[in-house]
Amino acid sequence: MSIEEIPLSEQQAAQALPPSRRERGLWRDAFRETFRKRSAVVGAVILGLLLFMAVFAPLLAPYGEREVLISTEGLRPRAEPCIHLSVNWIPDVPVLRTAESFLESNGFSCPSDEPQHLMGLDGNGRDVFSRILYGARVSLLAGVAAVSFALVIGTAIGLISGFLGGRVDNSVMRVMDVLLAFPALLLAIAIVTARGPGLFNAVLAVSVVTIPVYARVVRSRVLSVREQDFVAADRALGVSSARILTHRVLPNSLTPLVVQATLGIATAVLELAALSFVGLGGDVDQAEWGRMIALERNQLFSSPHLVFYPGVMIMLNVLAFNLIGDGLRDALDPRLNK
């Protein structure tokens, strides 16, 4: 279980949102509110950048994701960044000039007759910049996939369990408690070791570990909602349980779920990177940032660019979701005085 969300106990989670809000107006307000908070804006900008990279990678990347350049360019693996700085159209702005001299003095600039590699080459002679761009796809997708899967299943479990109540509810929640008692990373490692390495299994492991979080959140919402008068009214009118669940409970649960999910993506990305780091991540050649760090971690001191760039990308990725999630939480939490 990750630390960030922590519905501390069922009592506290149940206290959160009075159920009788009008959701649509709330959402619009929430969005506006979130992005009035500057840190959330920062997060959104970063996320936008990452999405842009992911979507347009094939256009932006000068080389292929798995293109080995040893034979074609004759460069050694782990070549340092080679940036063409003598381009004339760079405006004569002090900031850019300082950057240029910094890069030059550190040996990153190179003449225009040599092939340009903005971030250098990796251990197999592949262009790091291209792999960073392509890596955005995997990292974003994997994180979102892990959380989506857990969200769907966790919500389903929470809804059913909370609604059925009684012994079913008790047993299911005990099972969730058992899952939560295990440290996330270790459980994920065990799952991947059992199923074999690979990105799919890593994503599966991370999502299984997060299911209980969503189950718990939804279930406590169910508990608080179903005692309400309007639900009794619904029942009296003969509304089916399923409708009650989908039309009353679910909308009410969205708030904490959205916050949880956004923060959850951040944690998922970190956990996937950690799994890659211990060697249980995906395909060797796939451009996944965690994997890129894992392969080159012993070159941290001799070729720091190989660890630095993917490390910064993971950090930005996680930061973006954390900031947005925080912003959402602030905006949607009714206890905060506006």
């Binding site: 080995v68 040893i70 390495p197 050649d285 971690r297 070159q299 001191f301 001799s302």
Partner: protein
Amino acid sequence: MRQPRFRWLAAFVSLGLIAAACGGDDDEAEDSDAEAEDGEFDALAFDEGGQCGTDGYAGNLAGIEAVDDLTVTFTLCEPDVAFPSKVAFSALGIFSEEQLEETGGAPIDNPIGTGPYQLEAWERGNQIVLNAYEDYWGDQAPIPTVVFRWSEESAQRLVELQSGDVQGIDNVGTEDFETVAGDDSLQLIEREPLNVFYLGFNVDKPPLDNQTLREAIGYAIDKDRLIENFYPEGSIAADQFLPPGIPQYEEGAEGYTYDPDRARDLLAEAGYPDGVDLGVLSYRATVRGYLPQPPQVASDIRDQLAQVGITVALDEQEEGAFIDNANAGNLGFYMLGWGADYPDATNFWDFHFGVGASPQFGTGFDDLHEVLSEAGSTTDEDERADLYAQANGMLMEHAQALPIAYGGSAVAFTSDVEGAHASPLSNERFAAMSLEGQDQLVWMQNGEPSGLYCADETDGEALRVCEQINESLLGYEVGGTEVEPALAEEYEPNDDLTEWTFTLRDGVTFHDGSTFDANDVVKSYQVQWDAADPLHVGRDGLFTYFEALFGGFLNPPPAPAG
């Protein structure tokens, strides 16, 4: 708890066996109480000559006898030219009879030896602390304390070295050679590449059962590209299975060269004019001297094969699972290697391609079996060279393994360590080093030993530690492979090299003060040799090296049916 009970049981059983043995059965070991009483020496002796060549015994050892308290004679079934090399190996380190008996044949955590260093403490997971033995028979070790630590990450080992917390490290990272060489406060010492990295095939698994296909793959690999880009200085492209440095290495052998056109032709000949999908290339991410960058090399091999139309997917397996699979013959196409244990061709050839070889290559080839058997028992060096050259040709033809590279590696020490060296057998000897102004040298290697009873260990990490503590009859020279006297001052074979007599050093004591004599030698060998001995226990009871060096155990457990 189960284990202590087991030990008591073993003790009672052993007493019972000894009592029964005194009944004078021909096949039973004839032994007597080994403790010297009143100056009299009750010699241990074991004679199993009758078993040579019989169905129940696959080994080459025929007898061990303590002729007197300082002389031991070994008798062999067949001549063995490499006998001294084998005897020098750490798995045959000498333990005292008493300790073997006291620990029930498993002095794993607390070995007592005759070596220049004794075990002070083993803090599992943290460190092993050795102190110089003051009553060592030879020159006392100049450095009073040696501490072993470990880390799998080469960058971490380097940082520790650079920060001065550690004075010596193993396996400098490929990219760090330059850094260390350029640093005046450090010394880089390269290790001769006494190993081989190869691509292996299980010839029973289609499509790899096609010999022409395997040959095609041989021509498709650009070894120079691999060496240049992924191996450190001192590494050499392989042209045969033995590395240079092993005496039977064939100069000018013809191996596979990089010839993609020929590869494509052979591929077509093999029935795959449009290319072929081989399935997976399996490997483990573990760094070894013969393979410092497994994922990168695997990736590049995959790319090279793609260029001639051979498709393969990478299958990175977890270390334990990988070894299991290799030993069980589950892998089809894989990357593996071998580092020399002792400097003789038999160490490389027999394990992989000899008669009792591991199933990793599938069904063996009879012509190779024959040549190797002969080469292992011939005494004429020229004849052996010839036979191994023939083996090279056969390996190239059958291509169940493609030697790719001899991997160089290096150790690094701080500049103030005198006598710092690297051993081609990974057998660095700390008693030969000195360090002014400090009483402690900290050495950081890749991993922690699993146990310190070297008879039952195979990992270099363990062997390096126990070699400081226990000595064998002979030893390897510091930093080299030449055999030199150790616990035995001299040795003498008979004319046909089937009988070897060793004269032991006088006045040698074990770390606990007890005297070293011929009975300790006999006992140390015998508990490994006789699988029915109650002290044939060890850590997991495999005694792998004994079996590899001498062919087999006495009274081996029955072979599996089928």
